[in-house]
């Protein structure tokens, strides 16, 4: 569906995307993970034909975005990071006008609007002004809008950023159903739970490059241990105590409020810690998550 070879994008001196290779197969939910400024959105914009690549090759449905933009876009659904709803039109007209931009006949668009409003649970809001909708409703409307042309690929740039947990779950549910129906999903996110829930395959981007690629489980296996033992000692003690336990784990991470010991058997680590007469205030054994992988690969430093 999508293939990129050595894809690059620069803005003046700044290189947002520094040569990435990606290939997305039909029916897959493909995720782009990465901190802010990693180049995720720039990549999405290139795929959506609104940003000419600076270098490299990009094919969407086997076509060149530079030459066949309108043809590609007829088969893409786009749900941008910021809602670009038309605030001068009501909910229904937003969908109607947008649907007509895809060359669909009036009656066809009207039929699809009814189905889509139902799908995103906004039927009662059909006549409402966009500004009167909550954040979650706006997002759902944007998703409904992106489906009006029955896209083969649905591109979602941070689909649930800024939403409350209820709204996020509604959106995940809808996206999951689309995936079941065979729509290829392409999404960026910096929520690890979102990536674990939705993605079959994902890449981690950092500073314009792909630093890891695989399935969520595969990435955890490859870049982390099966379990993580978290030890909490008194404030300020962690740094000093790390040396005493670091041989117990494959990798150790010191945080201001706890130690993270990466090991395939967390319980055994805790037992060993106790047998060394160390008494953590609290302990926790949990499975490694994508978040561990992510932080390991992209670092804990804040990116602005």
């Amino acid at each position: 569906m999508i293939s990129a070879r050595g894809l690059r994008k620069s803005f003046g001196d700044f290189e947002a995307v520094r040569g990435i290779d990606v290939s997305v197969r039909p029916g897959v939910a493909f995720g782009f993970l990465g901190p802010n400024g990693a180049g995720k959105s720039s990549t999405m914009r290139m795929i959506c034909c609104v940003s000419p690549p600076s270098d490299g090759e990009l094919r969407v449905f086997g076509m060149d975005p530079g030459k066949d933009g309108p043809k590609i876009k007829a088969r893409l659904g786009v749900c941008p990071q910021e809602d670009t709803l038309d605030v001068e039109l009501n909910v229904y007209d937003n969908l109607y006008v947008y649907g007509r931009y895809f060359g669909l006949p009036r009656a066809e668009v009207k039929g699809r609007i009814e189905e889509l409003l139902d799908f995103v649970q906004l039927t009662e809001k059909a006549k409402a002004k966009v500004d009167d909708l909550s954040g979650g409703m706006k997002r759902r409307l944007t998703i409904a809008r992106s489906l009006i042309n029955r896209p083969e690929i649905l591109v979602l740039d941070e689909p649930t950023t800024g939403l409350d947990p209820q709204a996020r779950h509604v959106i995940w549910d809808r996206l999951f159903r689309l995936k079941q129906a065979g729509v290829t999903l392409l999404l960026t996110t910096h929520y690890m739970d979102e990536a674990e829930q939705l993605c079959d395959e994902l890449v981690v981007m950092d500073q314009g490059r792909i630093v890891a690629h695989g399935t969520p489980l595969g990435l955890i296996q490859e870049h982390s241990t099966r379990e993580v033992a978290e030890l909490r000692f008194g404030v300020g003690e962690h740094e000093a105590l790390a040396a005493k336990v670091e041989d117990l784990a494959e990798r150790i991470e010191v945080l201001p409020d706890r130690l993270l010991l990466y090991s395939d058997n967390g319980e055994a680590v805790i037992e060993a810690v106790h047998s060394r007469d160390l008494a953590p205030v609290a302990t926790l054994v949990r499975r490694s998550s994508l978040e561990d992988v992510f932080l390991h690969l992209t670092g804990r430093t804040l990116v602005d």
């Binding site: 803005f11 609104v50 876009k73 670009t84 039109l89 931009y101 029955r150």
Partner: protein
């Protein structure tokens, strides 16, 4: 699930043909103004009020007014000026303030570019809308003039197509300039250009009132070309000079269109 079952329908999304895209953009704007008709009407009223106040009110105390050697009523002189101003208002209101809002705040064009629409479709569609609004204003103005017994020639009907020309010229150039604006304050510059153009483009007094050098400058302004064109038509005295105005306005519109398209590319396809 029916939404995703492409088999239930034979209609398939496709790129639009040029004319279709423009029609849809017009339709979108009509939908917007259907709920904001008051805004639409107020833009029209300003030149009408000037016609009543200056043309008819002040005109009542003006005697012995002549135009091109012929004695005419002063209000018959002012009325075509207000037609051109009306056409200018009709297009500039959408081409500047509203265009800026759509571009920067409503993100309307980002939305459109996620669909098969192209920047050229947007530029053409919006300029056509400017023209349409100018055309509607001027057609309504003509009705008022008929009611006031200010029309004496069939040529006057041609002010409607003339309005479309004025609309495209001001619309295209207004939009082109607006793409360079960064904040609402910048629009003071537009107001600053519109006000003197409205007052001094031979709208209320003949251009012969100016010294030679100033006359040349005024004759180069797009509103002046629109005013003389409308005046020649409502007075029923078109000339080769009218054709100069037509070509001038066409060129203005065409250059504006090219600039707008390029600027949209530069701003939106980054």
């Amino acid at each position: 699930m029916a939404i995703l079952n492409a088999a239930v329908s034979t209609a398939v999304a496709r790129p639009l043909r040029g004319g279709e895209a423009a029609r849809l953009l017009l339709w979108r704007n009509i939908l917007v103004y259907r709920r904001a008709w008051l805004v639409f009407v107020t833009g029209f009223l300003e030149p009408v009020f000037y016609l009543f106040s200056i043309g008819i009110g002040v005109g009542a105390i003006v005697t012995g007014f002549t135009y091109a050697g012929e004695p005419i009523e002063y209000r018959e002189f002012v009325a075509p000026g207000m037609i051109a101003a009306s056409a200018m208002n009709g297009s500039l209101l959408d081409a500047t303030f509203n265009f800026f809002f759509k571009l920067k705040y409503n993100k309307l064009y980002d939305q459109m570019l996620a669909t098969p629409l192209r920047t050229v479709d947007i530029a053409v569609g919006e300029i056509l809308w400017n023209q349409l609004r100018s055309g509607i204003y001027v057609a309504a103005f003509l009705v008022i003039m008929l009611a006031m017994d200010l029309v004496h020639s069939w040529w006057a009907l041609l002010v409607v197509p003339a309005a479309l020309l004025i609309g495209s010229a001001f619309g295209a150039v207004g939009m082109a300039l607006t793409t360079y604006m960064t904040s609402w304050q910048d629009f003071e510059k537009i107001t600053l250009a519109m006000m003197p153009m409205f007052l001094f483009s031979a709208t209320f007094f003949p251009i012969t009132a100016y010294p030679e050098w100033l006359r040349w400058i005024v004759e180069l302004t797009p509103l002046y070309r629109g005013v003389v064109l409308c005046r020649e038509l409502t007075l029923g005295v078109p000339s080769w000079g009218s054709l100069v105005s037509v070509v001038y306005l066409l060129a203005f519109g065409a250059i504006g269109l090219v600039v707008v398209r390029r600027r949209l590319d530069a701003l939106l396809l980054t």
